[in-house]
């Protein structure tokens, strides 16, 4: 506690395990950004914990030279909650996939977000089950052909960020896998946020769902499919596009700056504290010509579950004194036989 943390480097976070993702998998980029970012957070390595479920993405903890727990499919949020309740000092990162986190694990994700446990959730969304060889997932687009849907899937995809907002999340962000310059600061903000931070990472699976995020993951970071949000800033994207609300309605429209008299002043200004605005942005459908909202969609901190649970304990001890079993055994009605 008293020793200053030694200056850590990327290497300190690289485990001795061979990374076993397919060549070209987007997970590599995320791993590398994570390993480069952690040393900048001024934390102790022994306090860092990665928890995951099952899936390609969920192999992540094996490659981090920190504490790591590769648990069972879909339940990582529950494990992580228990870890925080046991030791709130730990710095917990949860890695999950669109199958792990939203298919089998949707309920635990929901309740973790609702409770606002102080940890970071990284959901690698490749819109596919990678590990089990390519079946469609809850984020696959309608008509997706996969081994289990050879005639195309029929169910509408979930927007993970919208789901998170509906579940009461207090930090929701989104970023493509390979844009390290964008991803690194978002990892830092997620880490800095007290409570559950939900970061959806748009990840490419070159084997089973290549180019699922084409355009949105454009390296230039200024494609017309990318709307980078900044709190307090007007919503501009591409070369000259912007978003605006139709007056007194909830309909968004894409406008071109300079055309039909539209200026920056007409654009919607991002407000990280507005849950319903974030919901609107989270649900924009690219197939209708909208860009994909990236960056921090929503951030509005509130007391965390672990903190309040600990407070109740501290309060009980302060008020009633530390309990002893002996006293408890003799409390209430007792009697003696000679």
């Amino acid at each position: 506690m008293s020793e200053p943390a030694k200056q850590l480097t990327r290497k300190d976070f690289v485990s001795n395990q061979d990374v076993r993702w397919c060549p070209g998998c987007g997970d590599y980029a995320i791993l590398s950004t994570m390993q480069r970012t952690l040393p900048e957070l001024g934390i102790k390595r022994e306090n860092v914990v990665f928890v995951s479920g099952i899936g390609c993405s969920s192999r992540f903890p094996y490659y981090m030279d920190t504490y790591g727990f590769h648990t069972v499919h879909g339940r990582a949020p529950a494990f992580a909650t228990g870890i925080k309740l046991a030791n709130p000092e730990l710095d917990v990162w949860l890695v999950t996939g669109d199958g792990d986190g939203l298919s089998i694990g949707g309920n635990h994700l929901l309740h973790c977000l609702r409770r606002n446990v102080d940890l970071q959730i990284l959901l690698f969304n490749n819109r596919i089950y990678g590990l089990t060889k390519g079946q469609y997932s809850p984020t696959s687009l309608v008509g997706h052909q996969s081994p289990s849907t050879p005639a195309g899937s029929v169910d509408a995809p979930l927007f993970p960020a919208a789901f998170a907002l509906g579940s009461g999340a207090r930090f929701v962000a989104r970023c493509p896998d390979t844009l390290a310059k964008k991803l690194a600061p978002l990892l830092k903000r997620a880490h800095g946020h007290r409570g559950t931070s939900f970061l959806e990472i748009l990840q490419n699976c070159p084997v089973f769902n290549d180019k699922a995020w084409e355009g949105v993951d454009d390296r230039s970071a200024v494609s017309e499919q990318q709307l980078w949000l900044e709190h307090g800033q007007p919503m501009r994207f591409g070369a000259d596009k912007g978003l605006r609300l139709r007056a007194n309605t909830h309909d968004l429209e894409v406008v071109t700056l300079g055309r039909e008299g539209v200026s920056e002043a007409d654009l919607l200004v991002h407000n990280e504290k507005s849950r319903s605005l974030a919901f609107l942005l989270a649900g924009m459908d690219p197939s209708l010509g909208y860009p994909t909202a990236l960056g921090v969609l929503y951030c509005d901190p509130a007391p965390t579950f672990d903190e309040m649970m600990m407070k109740q304990i501290d309060h009980a001890i302060a008020k009633r004194g530390r309990g002893t079993v002996d006293a408890l055994l003799h409390s209430g009605h007792t009697w003696s036989t000679p």
């Binding site: 648990t71 529950a78 649970m309």
Partner: protein
């Protein structure tokens, strides 16, 4: 600690060795409270006591219906008793439905106290009586005390200005007062309890006290028929010491607190409410000043997963549930087996299969507990045999879980969970402390380095510098803990996991004989809550000169090493269980002895007599 002298009375009381009394009435009639308070008052006088609450699954079933009947049976005696008794000798019936459902159980010639005030036409109809049983010869086999308890209660509390409905609520206390008088018990403990409980609602407190006193006084002053004797059940010669009443659920909750104290571990409970286990969660939630974290999870799976996480992080992780919940936790428990983490799973069993009979008791999760996981995934299974035994079992579960880095399932059931018994308060200093195998030294560490003796792996908790490691459900290399798909390694790890559980058998006490010779004609082998019935049945048989012994298991997996020898010492092995034959299967397979099951699956505990007859029949075969 109070120990009031029995009230002095003019007429002498008939001395009885033991009495079984059952209070029954509508769920709204407060029978559970009546029974609990009676238990309290009689235990305080030094008799031994056992109880059996039996209540409907509905929260508040409509008044007067048959399925809305709630009962509470108390067995108290001047000797050591084991069960709440087979059939009541005294029945208190507060309404027609209660009479209808409970009368068949009353002993012939038994005493029936009945509240005539509830025998309206509507009440009779709801109970399915076409004739009023108070008026025909339905009750002729019994000694009957007909009283309009409703009316007498109203009179007793008139001064407090309550509404009719509110005032009538006290009729259970009037009844309690009368019954306390009948058995020479003091009203003092109940009055004290009412004072505490209703301190903030003086009208209710005072009317309840008045009703209680009025019932008591009624007994003393009214001219009761000759045949309605007053009784006395003298104190039992229980071992000297301090006593309290305790239910199985309380005992387990407190045992867990004790385990935490003895090991220095923080207790983390992750649970999801389910009948009849919820009370453990409730009880522990009250004791935050012990540093215990209680987490009501979103479901059973999250509950167990959260505490597996908490265990890894260095605390004592516990989850509590009943059968359907255990089914849901199965997959995650497998991870705890594979990752070799300590974990306690308490299963308070209820009637199955599926939702089954949530408020009834059964022992039908045994095979699920031992075998119900994918893969070869052994763990430790213990079973509590009396309400109070839950305390020691919980401590033992924690000791084994942490020493061997393994999940432990502790089986209880609805009968133990809700039933109360006077319990000799243990001396905490008599329990040895135990040290979990925490590791802090990075030298030579990997997550699966094992203790040579116990074969337990080292417990390295996040936050410890230099011991960073990865844990998971994919098979792990014996020598590094890293993922390994190697066939020989899988065999080796399978073997060591099995061997570790084998070592547990070396760590637990040899199986003792609860009663009787250690070899001979017949042994009755039991586990769990059947303890009391079996024990008394064997006592009774032995009193008749039959050569039967009783062996009762706490350790159901792994089994004590000497058990095979014991069983082989008897010509016959019979195994009563409240399931279709589970322990008997295991004993047959393990020892190739022809163990025969006595099976009862009705949601009700064994009656002593049933077992006695079976033992006699077996011996006479």
């Amino acid at each position: 600690m109070d120990n009031p002298a029995p009230p002095t009375l003019s007429k002498p009381r008939e001395q009885l060795d033991a009495v079984v009394i059952r209070f029954c009435g509508d769920s709204g009639d407060g029978m559970q409270l009546t029974g609990t308070q009676f238990t309290q008052s009689t235990a305080v006088m030094g008799t031994d006591v056992a109880t059996f609450p039996d209540y409907p699954a509905e929260i508040r079933a409509p008044a007067g219906t048959l399925y809305g009947v709630s009962g509470f049976q108390v067995h108290f005696a001047s000797r050591d008793i084991m069960t709440p008794g087979d059939r009541p000798a005294v029945l208190v019936a507060m309404n027609p439905a209660a009479l209808k459902t409970n009368l068949p159980d009353l002993e012939p010639g038994g005493l029936l106290i009945v509240n005539t005030g509830a025998f309206s036409r509507g009440g009779l109809k709801k109970a399915g009586y076409s004739e009023n049983p108070l008026e025909d010869d339905t009750l002729s086999p019994y000694r009957v005390l007909k009283l309009d308890i409703s009316k007498m209660t109203l009179l007793a509390v008139a001064e407090f200005g309550l509404g009719n409905k509110e005032a009538l609520r006290s009729k259970n206390l009037w009844t309690l007062g009368l019954v306390l008088w009948l058995f020479g018990r003091s009203t003092k403990p109940t009055i004290e309890w009412l004072r505490e409980k209703f301190g903030k609602r003086p009208a209710i407190r005072d009317s309840n006290i008045a009703a209680l006193r009025s019932g008591h006084i009624y007994g003393e002053t009214a001219e009761l028929p000759e045949e309605i004797g007053r009784y006395e059940v003298p104190r039992a010669s229980l071992p000297a010491g301090a006593y309290r009443n305790i239910t199985g659920n309380e005992a387990i909750a407190w045992g867990l607190l004790a385990a935490a104290e003895l090991s220095g571990l923080q207790l983390v409970l992750g649970s999801y409410p389910i009948t009849p286990a919820s009370n453990i969660l409730h009880e522990l939630s009250k004791h935050k000043n012990f540093g215990v974290v209680t987490f009501q999870a979103e479901d059973e799976i999250a509950a167990v997963c959260s505490v597996i996480g908490a265990s890894w992080a260095g605390t004592l992780g516990v989850t509590t549930t009943s059968g359907p919940g255990l089914a849901l936790k199965t997959e995650a428990i497998g991870l705890a087996v594979a990752a070799e983490l300590p974990l306690i799973i308490v299963d308070v069993q209820r009637g199955g299969p599926s939702t089954g009979l949530p408020t009834k008791t059964e022992q039908s999760d045994l095979l699920q507990a031992i075998y119900g996981r994918n893969g070869d995934s052994e763990l430790v299974v213990l079973a509590a045999s009396t309400p109070g035994d839950g305390f020691e079992c919980a401590v033992e579960a924690a000791r084994l879980a942490t020493k061997f880095m393994t999940p432990v399932i502790l089986l209880s059931d609805g009968y133990l969970g809700n039933g109360a018994e006077p319990w000799k308060i243990p001396d905490m200093s008599s329990f040895p402390r135990f040290e979990p195998p925490f590791r802090t030294d990075p030298e030579g560490y990997h997550p699966f380095v094992r203790d040579e003796q116990s074969l337990a792996r080292a417990w390295a908790t996040p936050g410890t510098p230099g011991l960073e490691h990865r844990l998971g459900g994919i098979e792990r290399d014996y020598d590094s803990g890293n993922i390994s798909y190697d066939p020989e390694n899988h065999q080796r790890m399978t073997d060591v996991r099995a061997a570790k559980i084998g070592r547990v058998a070396h760590d637990i006490p040899d199986q003792g004989i609860s009663l009787g010779e250690d070899e001979g004609e017949l042994v009755v082998v039991g586990w769990g809550s059947t303890y009391g019935s079996i024990h008394q049945a064997v006592i009774n048989c032995r009193d008749r000169g039959l050569r039967a012994s009783h062996v009762h298991l706490r350790y159901v997996h792994p089994l004590p090493r000497n058990l095979g020898d014991i069983l082989r010492g008897f010509k016959r092995v019979i195994v009563p269980e409240m399931n279709n034959g589970m322990l008997s299967k295991i004993l047959r397979s393990e020892y190739l002895v022809d163990a025969q099951g006595i099976n009862k699956v009705s949601g009700q505990p064994f009656k002593i007599q049933e077992l006695e007859e079976t033992i006699r029949a077996e011996l006479e075969r």
